[in-house]
């Protein structure tokens, strides 16, 4: 699911919408999501936010409905600066998110093994810190793939 062209270091943006659109656009260019994907991500984030207070620091797992997705894919966005997102399940709480795991999921039953690994990754404090400080896309790719496979 993870693709190098969907990994971005230093995602610029001062709002959740900006960073979602920026990383979401990569999915469209890579051909794994439809043109509607970035709008759908933003809209979905408004209604049902996806930030999580991971032990290492706050992250978000933005995703949207399958009609906007062509192929299952996962992207990683390391934010240049922390950006305010709302917490999943408790939208009244604002979290300063530093890392995005963006997901394009078509059939969760098929991707459940990967989703489980992503949960483990979210709970792995050391790994999240290492990803945040990675110097290159290749480094992020190696680290995240080692957890997913």
């Amino acid at each position: 699911m993870l693709r190098k062209e969907l990994i971005v270091i230093d995602v610029e943006g001062s709002s959740d919408e900006e960073v979602l659109r920026s990383l979401g656009a990569r999915f469209v260019v890579a051909g794994v999501a439809k043109e509607s994907f970035p709008d759908a991500l933003v809209e979905r984030e408004r209604r049902y936010p996806t930030a999580l207070p991971a032990t290492a620091f706050a992250i978000a797992v933005p995703h949207t409905f399958k009609e906007h997705i062509k192929e299952p894919a996962m992207g990683v966005g390391i934010l240049a600066h922390p950006v305010a997102f709302h917490q999943m399940g408790s939208p009244e709480i604002t979290l300063q998110v530093e890392l995005l795991f963006m997901l394009a999921v078509k059939d969760p039953a098929e991707q459940i093994a990967t989703l489980k690994q992503i949960m483990k990754l979210i709970q792995n404090e050391e790994m999240l810190k290492a990803i945040k400080h990675a110097a290159s896309v290749d480094e992020v790719y190696e680290m995240v793939s080692s957890v997913l496979n």
Binding site: Y48, P49, P53, M88, G89, L103, L115, M119, I122
Partner: protein, 102 residues
């Protein structure tokens, strides 16, 4: 004989997060000797699911409307994803099942 548990997980899309949560809860309860059936829904579908079939409890990762629960116990489940509060979640669920005679 294993005791059967039917649960509904709820998240914004009714797909991604609810599947993650369903998977963790299924493994958690199977370890306790339960036979688990998990369904996933988004918050607006939840009421219909609960009206159509009996569920032992709801685990939710997005805000839900209490009126839609119709008396079905509900437990917040974000902690299962972040890894914070997994034990508390398990205790709450086991308590609910015990109260239901399971």
């Amino acid at each position: 004989m294993a005791k059967n548990v039917k649960l509904l997980t709820v998240c914004g899309s009714g797909i991604v997060t609810s599947s993650m949560i369903a998977n963790v809860i299924t493994e958690m309860l199977e370890e306790e000797g339960y036979e688990v059936e998990a369904m996933e829904a988004n918050p607006s579908e939840m009421g219909n699911y609960l009206a159509r079939s009996h569920y032992d409890f709801v685990a939710y990762a997005s805000p839900i409307d209490e009126d839609d629960l119709n008396g079905v116990p509900a437990v917040p489940a974000i902690g299962l994803i972040t890894g914070r509060g997994v034990e508390e979640f398990k205790e709450s669920v086991l308590e609910i099942l015990k109260n239901a005679g399971k």
